[in-house]
Symmetry: C2
Subunit: 403 residues, 2 copies
């Protein structure tokens, strides 16, 4: 079996470790995640790595061929509900395949590799995105210790049940002194590589993102008895704003802006909407572009509300800043991709990744792998064996170039 | 106490018969509705009426002063959830007050009056609007017998538990032969009379209404990774349509059109909406105007969907036809309002009423009473004692004019 075929088979095998019959759901500290981590640990050992768990339950394999410095590689092993089998896991499995391949060819690296299988990136159970990598980066927010899952289990109890140590999380921080950098392979989760006709993408930055709520407050009323001229319909205001979000985003290259949820109150066919709560999500690789888009959107929302005599509540925070990948490491990734014979396509990541957390302790680099239709967070997530082979080729080359 | 003050007091008293502590909810065939009906029956008897219940549980009081013909008067005693205390009940209580006043002044009518307290108009429990009046009109839909409430109780069982006879509903039809007409007093449930500065309104028609669902089906995707140009965002299509609904309705005098519910799937801040289901409600006193508005809206929805490569499902039925009030009876209502010294304001009803059902067996007339802010279906529903006095004056005069 080729290395790429083995990655596909292992992806299928990991997908059997699920909380739910018939679909893949694997949240933090569940038996399904424990089983997946044990299986990954076994594959790491078979690839020659020394395997341990840290205080949050990340699976860490170390291959110490030589040298005093270490390259971190990682991705996550948890999933969303009803997930695909590649988002997260692919990055770990591709790395294992590369190390096996190097070993099979009798080649060693002049530095140590630590491969991190993060226990929580999606944050589905406790609302804690990047939980696993935040602990490695020493950025864990202790306020999160008060969180409970939907069954009332506290985060510290879940950490303990998972074999971790909630009081020792600070000690799990990876000291940056000896680090070469952090490298992550991930499916693109978008349609750009497919549209470009290439299997791989070199990530230039991880876009900053701002999320929040926008609330329009009008006046509810009977849909049959209130003439149009006397209405203050919160949904009509919200609809105008949704159109403005789309228009403003289209105006600026690379901006994405989304209204993903709409809650209408009271919410009945025969009642004029009195209040509408929208979610807003704005991303761009440049923080200043993102901020100027948000300013325009806030102005538009204010103008719409004023013109309609409708109230506006703008609950949109500062958001997270964009993170650039390391120019030096990223040039090596581009060189490695070029060595596979494919055209080098550079693109920012609109999704967040564990690399955001790791960027606080090491230079980062990321490689994207094309996925069918750009679909992710969905059982239809799909990656071809040829594209995985390209990712293994490029990553192996990258590991050699780093040396 | 004045007759109007007594109506206010009785409204408060009826509001204590509720399924829920602290707020008024009185659905069909509940103990609360039984108690309200018994109280209303007692007031009817005190006003000199012979009281009975029909096969669905409507309370019917008959006052037979003379003549071979009968005027029906009615409104409903059930409520929505967390209701106001006037929607429905006011019409019954004003009629009782008028009959008491005529009796107190030693005046009799040259025809019989039958006062109907309908057991279900809102249809909250079984989704059966106009249930009580449909039985009286002989328009009960036997397919409704299969309905169950949220606890699984069938409609026939509820009818039996309420002391009715589900097998005898056809026999409850009021034969039209001797009927003078049907008269209903109701709060306006809209802001027009308040804007006009008058307590009473003469209803010219009950608007036809079309309701339905409009579904836009695009493609879900990651809010961070799918460029704007590659999106097929169902919510952006829906927003454009909501704006079109508002614009088209404003274009035609008297049209009201409302999108009261919006369901977004999958419905997450970081996911592009893949499917949006909107409710649509369109009303006008002219069926041809309503139909032309619906044609325009369907065309607009189709154009929006086509331009965006989004799917459209148009699940909008024929709707209910508009019903004109009887010109002859309505002239008497207008004359009675004029006799109170107030300006005569004529308006269509955008809400449906039991009069729609009764129109199939008798000429109908309706009188609207101003309510604060046009608010209904809400505990804030409010009517002044002066406006109730005006309604009693006008109705008493109408009863004399009919004779």
């Amino acid at each position: 079996m080729t290395y790429a075929a083995a990655v596909l088979r292992r992806s299928d095998e990991l997908a059997t470790f699920s909380e739910e019959e018939g679909r893949l759901t694997r949240r933090y500290a569940t038996p399904a995640l424990r089983q997946a981590g044990e299986q990954v640990g076994q594959w790491m050992e078979e690839a020659g790595m020394a395997v341990r768990r840290d205080q949050i339950g990340n699976v860490i394999g170390r291959l110490d061929d030589g040298g005093s410095r270490t390259l971190l590689i990682g991705s996550h092993l948890d999933t969303v509900r009803d997930a695909g089998r590649y988002d997260g896991m692919l990055g770990v499995l591709v790395a294992i395949a590369c190390l096996e391949r190097l070993r099979d060819h009798g080649r060693s690296l002049p530095y140590a590799v630590e491969l991190l299988g993060f226990a929580d990136e999606e944050g589905v159970r406790f609302g804690t995105g990047y939980l696993g990598s935040s602990v490695v980066a020493g950025r864990f927010d202790t306020a999160d210790m008060d969180r409970r899952d939907s069954d009332g289990v506290t985060l510290p109890d879940a950490v303990r049940a998972f074999g971790g140590d909630p009081d020792g999380l600070a000690g799990a921080r990876r000291e940056p002194a000896d680090l070469i950098g952090y490298y992550e392979v991930h499916i693109e989760q978008g349609p750009v590589l497919e549209a470009e006709g290439v299997p791989l993408g070199v990530v230039t930055a991880i876009a900053g993102q701002t999320g929040g709520r926008v609330v329009f407050t009008g006046e509810a009323g009977h849909a049959g008895t209130v003439p149009m001229a006397l209405r203050r319909d919160a949904m009509c205001a919200a609809a105008e704003f949704v159109s403005a979000v789309e228009r403003v985003a289209r105006d600026r290259d690379g901006v994405v802006a989304t209204v993903g949820t709409v809650e209408v109150e009271p919410g009945a066919r025969n009642v004029i909407p009195g209040r509408v709560v929208l979610s807003l999500d704005v991303r761009h690789a440049s923080d200043s572009v993102r901020e100027s888009v948000l300013t325009r959107l806030r102005d538009r929302a204010g103008a719409i509300a004023d013109a309609r005599g409708v109230g506006l509540t703008w609950q949109v925070g500062k958001g997270t800043r964009s993170v650039d990948t390391s120019p030096a490491l990223t040039e090596l990734v581009a060189e490695a991709v070029a060595a596979t014979g494919h055209r080098v396509v550079r693109l920012p990541s609109g999704a967040g990744h564990d690399a955001v957390m790791l960027s606080t302790i090491a230079p980062i680099a990321m490689l994207f792998v094309r996925c069918a239709g750009g679909v992710s967070h969905n059982p239809a997530e799909s990656v071809t064996v040829d594209d995985i082979a390209a990712a293994i080729d490029a990553t192996t080359r990258f590991l050699e170039l780093v040396g």
